[in-house]
């Protein structure tokens, strides 16, 4: 039993970890693009801004369980399988990207406009404003945002378990629920709670360390 729980925990960490990194890789640039192309920001491009916003909203409005099955052909085409942890990473990432983009947007919009304008007045280019002003100034907010995405990914990963994705969610459903193993159900729940707690506290600690405001 303990070996199963350990194995499932590793699977969850793997799915969430990879999905988090991939969604950050795509979601953070998208969030930045979304912000800077907005009206009255440093690079207003209304068409790009609006289309991006629509796409992100569509992604955000699909319930994860629907997205999971809806993109099975895409998943299969991309990684060759739609089951197992690798198969679960694709829908997890796809659903986390728009979430990440919105979280990044919120964090970047918190940056004091006066500071951005000061950088413009000093002759900073758009790229310099992004890398030297927007991102560094938004770091505490970005860390908290990524933490939030990580926590949601843990809960999504449990759903992925329902379609054979592996991980703690899978274990809890198959053993805890279908085979009436109350002890496994309890331990999985405790492990999940511990995971969320530690991610949240770590994120909070890191954000406050990086905050000089």
């Amino acid at each position: 039993m303990w070996a199963q729980i350990l194995n499932a925990t590793i699977e969850t960490v793997y799915m969430v970890g990879v999905a988090l990194v991939l969604s950050a890789l795509f979601g953070i640039p998208l969030g930045i693009l979304l912000v800077i192309t907005g009206p009255r920001h440093i690079k207003p491009l209304p068409v790009i801004h609006r289309s991006l916003s629509v796409v992100i909203n569509v992604g955000r409005s699909l319930p994860f369980i629907i997205l999971l099955v809806a993109i099975i052909p895409f998943t299969r085409w991309l990684v060759g399988t739609s089951i197992g942890t690798t198969g679960a990473i694709v829908p997890l990432t796809v659903s986390a990207i728009p979430f990440m983009a919105r979280v990044v947007e919120t964090a970047l919009l918190e940056v004091d406009w006066g500071v951005i304008e000061a950088a413009q007045a000093m002759g900073a280019s758009t790229q310099q404003i992004i890398t030297k002003v927007l991102i560094p100034e938004a770091i505490p907010g970005l860390v908290l945002g990524v933490t939030m995405v990580a926590v949601s990914l843990i809960s999504y990963s449990a759903m992925a378990g329902a379609v054979g994705g592996g991980g703690l969610g899978d274990l809890a459903i198959r053993y805890g629920y279908q085979r009436f193993r109350g002890d496994i159900m309890l331990i999985t729940v405790l492990v999940l709670v511990a995971m969320v707690q530690s991610i949240q506290s770590f994120g909070g600690w890191l954000a406050s360390r990086l905050n000089h405001r």
């Binding site: 006066g114 500071v115 000061a118 950088a119 000089h212």
Partner: protein, 352 residues
């Protein structure tokens, strides 16, 4: 001193469209000389902020041209605009320092973006922090500084790229009076030391009085008056200028004296209560005692005030002149002839 540094020609800026159209600047023309401290005063919403932000094209006017050291700013784009902006320093009401950077890295920011080498950067930042008196705060974060210290960092940062012009956007409005004075002194110091042209906007006449050479009064998007500061204080022509002056020069009659005047009136038959305003050298002459001697009148000083505008004495007196009717009239005529500004506030007599 006499070459033109910044020239605005018929600059017009309109916000919004249709019913919501607001004219922020209407046909504004200004000439700012090299090396002077040029103040622009106006109430909030008068357009002064828009005006200063047009100079480095943070705002883009719809019409008109702005030239800086002969170069037209208004049609610059992209790379050229960024290069021109590096020659224009700017400080802000809310300082706008990067909260994620230490004092050192804030001042280094403009050098960093213009590609100055780290070693050179460090030397420059250290000398700038010495200049503004914050060498000991080099590793502090802005949140650990007071408002005055933050503005000093702002000034050091603005000077980092050796600008020819420094724009001050309400730079002292968020500071207490003492800190305001010390920041103004620092600005005056860098103006003299580097021959830096300073343009500042404010709603505080105190700031104009303290350091400006030339002033423009802006009201409702238009420049209603401009000239030397001394000239403005001596002879304000616009209603807007007079409104600003009231608070600073105490030209209002104090309520105690007003009460006294209405309660008693001049004590003698042929008395007059007069306000005498003077500027410059007159302050050093024994005007009152000479009037008393020459015209045999009594002069009772009710109120006196002396101020300095850029080292020029400026003041007003409220006096009660009593005596023989003809003598009082002659005394008043004599004072006027000496170039003093007289205003009869109360009194009985042939011309009251």
């Amino acid at each position: 001193m006499s070459t033109v540094m910044i020239e605005l020609e018929k600059v017009t800026k309109i916000y919004g469209q249709g019913d919501k159209r607001v004219v922020a600047l209407a046909d504004v023309s200004l000439q700012i000389k090299k090396g002077e401290i040029f103040g622009i005063i106006g109430l909030s919403g008068a357009g002064k902020s828009t005006l200063i932000r047009c100079i480095n094209k943070l705002e883009e006017p719809q019409a008109g041209t702005i030239r800086l050291a002969g170069q037209e700013i208004t049609n610059l784009q992209g790379k050229e605009l960024r290069a021109a902006r590096r020659k224009i320093g700017m400080i802000f009401q809310h300082f706008n320092l990067l909260s994620s950077r230490t004092v050192f890295r804030n001042v280094a920011f403009p050098l960093e973006i213009s590609g100055v080498k780290p070693k050179e950067r460090e030397e420059r930042v250290r000398s700038l922090l010495d200049l503004v008196g914050l060498a000991d705060k080099i590793n502090a974060y802005p949140s650990e500084l007071s408002g005055g210290q933050k503005q000093r960092v702002g000034i050091a940062r603005a000077l980092a790229s050796n600008p020819e012009v420094l724009l001050c956007d309400e730079a002292t409005s968020a500071l207490d009076p003492d800190t305001t004075k010390s920041i103004l002194r620092l600005l005056q110091d860098v103006n003299r030391r580097f021959g830096l042209t300073i343009v500042l906007i404010t709603h505080q006449m105190e700031v104009i009085k303290e350091i400006c050479d030339t002033v423009a009064v802006i009201d409702d998007g238009r420049i209603v008056e401009q000239g030397s500061v001394v000239e403005l204080f001596a002879r304000p022509r616009s209603a807007a200028a007079r409104r600003f002056m009231k608070g600073v020069l105490h030209t209002e009659i104090p309520p105690e004296i007003q009460e006294r005047m209405s309660a008693e009136g001049p004590r003698q038959q042929h008395g007059k209560t007069v306000r005498i305003s003077f500027i410059g050298g007159m302050a050093g002459q024994p005007i009152i005692s000479s009037v008393i001697r020459r015209f045999q009148v009594d002069v009772n000083i009710l109120y006196a005030n002396l101020d300095f505008i850029k080292n020029m004495p400026f003041g007003s007196l409220i006096v009660e002149i009593t005596g023989d009717e003809a003598n009082v009239a002659r005394a008043l005529a004599d004072l006027t002839a000496q170039g003093l500004k007289l205003e009869v506030l109360a009194g009985v007599g042939p011309d009251s």
